[in-house]
């Protein structure tokens, strides 16, 4: 028996049978036991029945990506066995229900250890003990699979109980004991199996167990939800679309924070309602995915010309059109940058993980207010759905920036109606492009807004002598943002200086790239560093050129067919990056794949490596 510090576990099943809750329980149990976990969720665009699966990678140190072969596959139904059995490493293990699966008929590697679990028998015993029907208990099969897995990896069963206590709270708390009865039985069965001792992936204890309550286990949809509450978002609108809807539902459930979440008739209403909110001074946002963003672009242009703060979150998925509605892709970048006709200043942010997404979401509202312009925030299905363990976010010192406001203390004097009726140059031409803002409801600051070009008061004009400086004023805000946004929020270089290979990327590939850099150094003694672009507009031109100055071989990594960041970099800087690692199967890039791809580029100087692993 060896010990490992890195285990990849998988569970699968038809959608609707509790695959998610099973994985959540496993991930949470491992996290409770002091490990770091990364959970990857894959599901079909279907409500019930189609195959979904969840991978949980467990490590003794922080981990941000999945690996390809799994060490341990657990399932209680046959489709997962048939689809994924080949993925188990040759000294891995397979936990299954012998009533539904015959391992002899599977594509298993010869060394894989087999662990049949009598799922129905366990349920029957609990049914008898509790007087419940066996059918009503079938969801507990998930807990059985998790407990068997925990026993195999020699993880303490108490972690399951603690995790169950965290998951089943309030009125659901009574489910804990029911689940623990099943867990205990499964755990015992595995402990008594002589083959258990042969399993090679017994988890090593972490060198330091993080203090209780010091970490979060969450996905970026939740991280953004939290940050919206912290940022004082007071109007969230949406039209149901995967995967953005997760964030909206999460926020709706937190009604005690006072944020109205409005489900609209379509994405057009969603963005325009948010902009309507933005005009009155509330921090407003909407969340959508590619097809919804297409519909929102007209509204964004209106917010652009009217200098209304609003934040649009685009959780990318596979495109074009409805594309791969529940799968991962990074292909809306150019659409986000160039959406909407005409020219208006856009701030486009792209966090790399749930932690960045928390801090960036908060900043997105500040940027919207400070620069009085729509902010597009690009996330994706991977970030929205995959769970990661992070040290607790520090939200103790987050500062609100409302930008330049006029008329905040404006009072209405009944005896001076003329003053109260004063109009206000809302779109005043200024040196830095920022005009002081007033809000409907303020006396003495009356102004107008229009989608047409307009004068300082907001009335329609087509006069070149107004159009020219007005457009210049608006576009100047991008220069100001480029100067003011912290350098580390624009571009970050990770890893050693003077590496023979530099990865260039943006967004959710950050996790797998960081993990890959570590593996390449530790196992292959290859130094690789990583230029992470964090702000797409305004593009950090100078910082990027500086970071590229000593680069020997640059490789773009992106989940797309066309290498969108490669195109953007050339457009903005003239630099042409020759190597690309691309994947457009709708599945995220694994550490295993990226390690191999970078090695291939290092050894063979391949121009383009296309990845395709995964179901």
């Amino acid at each position: 028996m060896n010990r490992t510090h890195d285990l990849c576990w998988m569970i699968g099943g038809p959608q609707g049978t509790g695959v998610d809750s099973s994985a959540t329980l496993f991930a949470r149990s491992c996290a409770v036991a002091g490990y770091w976990v990364y959970g990857r969720r894959e599901y079909h665009s279907n409500i019930k029945g189609e195959h979904s699966y969840f991978q949980v990678r467990v490590k003794t140190e922080p981990v941000y990506s999945h690996t390809d072969p799994v060490n341990l596959l657990a399932t209680f139904e046959n489709s997962t066995a048939q689809l994924h059995a080949f993925e188990i490493v040759d000294d891995g293990a397979f936990i299954y229900d012998p009533k539904v699966t015959d391992p002899a008929k599977l594509d298993l590697k010869p060394g894989v250890l087999l662990f049949p679990i009598p799922f129905d028998q366990i349920l029957e015993e609990i049914a008898q003990a509790t007087g419940k029907t066996q059918t009503s208990l079938s969801i507990i099969k998930n807990t059985i699979a998790v407990a068997a897995s925990m026993a195999l990896c020699q993880l303490d069963i108490s972690a399951i109980e603690e995790a169950l206590n965290g998951i089943f709270t309030g009125s659901k708390a009574k489910l804990v004991s029911l689940n623990m009865q099943a867990a205990t039985k499964a755990y015992e069965i595995m402990k008594n199996n002589p083959d258990t001792a042969k399993f090679n992936y017994v988890m090593e204890k972490p060198a330091t167990v993080p203090a209780k309550g010091s970490r979060y286990l969450l996905n970026a949809a939740v991280a953004t939800g939290l940050a919206k509450l912290k940022a004082g978002c007071r109007l969230q609108t949406y039209y149901s679309i995967t995967p953005a809807v997760d964030e909206c539902i999460y926020l709706e459930d937190l009604s005690e924070y006072g944020l109205p979440v409005v489900q609209c008739e379509d994405e057009i209403a969603a963005i325009n309602m948010a902009i309507g909110g933005g005009t009155t001074g509330v921090r407003a946002s909407t969340s959508t995915s590619g097809p919804g963003m297409d519909l929102m672009t007209e509204g964004l242009g209106w917010a652009g010309i009217n200098e209304v703060p609003v934040v649009m979150f685009n959780y990318m998925r596979g495109g074009p059109s409805t594309g791969l509605p529940t799968r991962h892709e990074q292909t809306d970048m150019l659409a986000c940058l160039f959406s909407g006709h005409g020219e208006y200043p856009k701030i486009v942010m792209c966090p790399g993980d749930a932690r960045e997404q928390f801090y960036d979401t908060f900043k997105a509202f500040n940027y919207a207010d400070r620069y009085q312009t729509p902010v597009t925030f690009i996330s994706d299905k991977l970030l929205a759905n995959n769970t990661v363990c992070f040290p607790k976010f520090d939200d103790s010192n987050m500062k609100v920036d409302l930008g330049v406001m006029a008329g905040k203390d404006a009072k209405f004097d009944e005896n001076n109606i003329e003053a109260a009726l004063q109009k206000f140059p809302r779109f005043k031409i200024t040196e830095d492009g920022i005009s002081p803002r007033a809000l409907p409801g303020m006396p003495g600051h009356i102004y107008w807004m229009t989608g047409d070009e307009h004068c300082e008061y907001g009335h329609i004009t087509e006069e070149p002598e107004i159009r020219i400086p007005m457009q210049e004023k608006r576009m100047k805000k991008l220069d100001l943002a480029a100067r003011e946004i912290l350098p580390e929020d624009q571009l970050v270089v990770h890893g050693p200086e003077n590496a023979p290979i530099t990865i260039v990327s943006w967004g959710s590939t950050k996790g797998v790239i960081l993990d890959t850099i570590k593996v390449l150094k530790e196992k292959h003694n290859l130094d690789v560093n990583f230029i992470q672009i964090r702000l797409l507009s305004p593009f950090p031109v100078d910082a990027f050129k500086k970071a590229m100055a000593n680069v020997k071989r640059a490789v773009v990594v992106e989940s797309s067919f066309g290498g969108q960041i490669t195109q953007l970099i050339t457009m903005r800087t003239g630099i042409q990056i020759e190597h690309e690692v691309l994947k457009w199967s709708g599945r995220p890039i694994s550490e295993t794949e990226l390690v191999a791809a970078i090695q291939e580029i290092n050894e063979k100087q391949s121009r383009k490596v296309v990845l395709s692993y995964g179901l």
Binding site: A231, K399, V400, G451
Partner: protein, 329 residues
Amino acid sequence: MVSSPTPLKTPLKGSQLKSDIHSEWCPGCGDFGITNSIQQAIAGLGMKPWETFIVSGVGCSGKVPHYIHTYGMHTLHGRSLAFAQGAKLANPNLHIIAAGGDGDGYGIGAGHFVHAGRRNMDMTYVVFNNEVYGLTKGQASPTLAQGAQPKSLALPNPTTAINPVTLALACGYTFIARSYAFDAKHLKETIMKAIQHKGMALIDVLQPCPTYNNIHTKDYFAEMVDVGGSQVPRVYYLENEGYDGVVKNPNDINEVNAKQAQCFEQAHKVEDRVALGVYYQIERPTFQDILKKNIPLLNEFTPVELPYYDPQTMIANTDLSKAAADFTI
């Protein structure tokens, strides 16, 4: 704290609500009458111009906010209600008057029209209904009758017209009225009633387009018509005919059914005459009422007032620990 807007002690004159912008509308356009009536209604109710927000879409009518001295928002084609509802949600103390054309509201904006009714947001929607798209040279709007051929159309209109009154009834509008652009008194009073109504109000305003609609002209509305051998004005008032569209007891399902049936029947009457007035009115909980039930904090603060930072340090002070407990390990 949530406070209701109070009227001015000394109401303004309608003329004080005219902006200093010169109108771009064609001479004789019904838009002048409607704009004037909106101004008169705001003045008549003592509304504070800075707490009033006029929201329009695109087209001739889209320009209306520019001519009124209140806060104004001239938005996108068909989208005025979406913008307006967002503004109302964020700051319920604002009086919101959405204004737009028939193409804007019943055509490109039809989806928003439907769902604004379902929400019963507390606001007023004035639709300038002249049966044509004026600003793009007179194409048929959704309210032009099938077979009608104003001079701007190359062929008779191939599609049937929608009925704004019954469409609104079906969507859940809680105040549905019809008025006429050049009947200043009736229009002003109807707008005042609509603003005072607590809920989503529609006023479908019949309006001549002197340039493109040569069928329903100012003269047409002014004509006398023959009813049972006697000459009567084409335009008449429902209230004068004993019609009462107001539901007295919203919980009385029989009364509600009867008033809805009456509204439907009246709106679909085939006659030469044009009936103005309140077709239907009922008190129902508004979106805000329901929001306050679901989100108790909104009983204390409007969304725009709800604090989230320390004004001295600007540090965000919302305590996330309760929400974060679920995923704290």
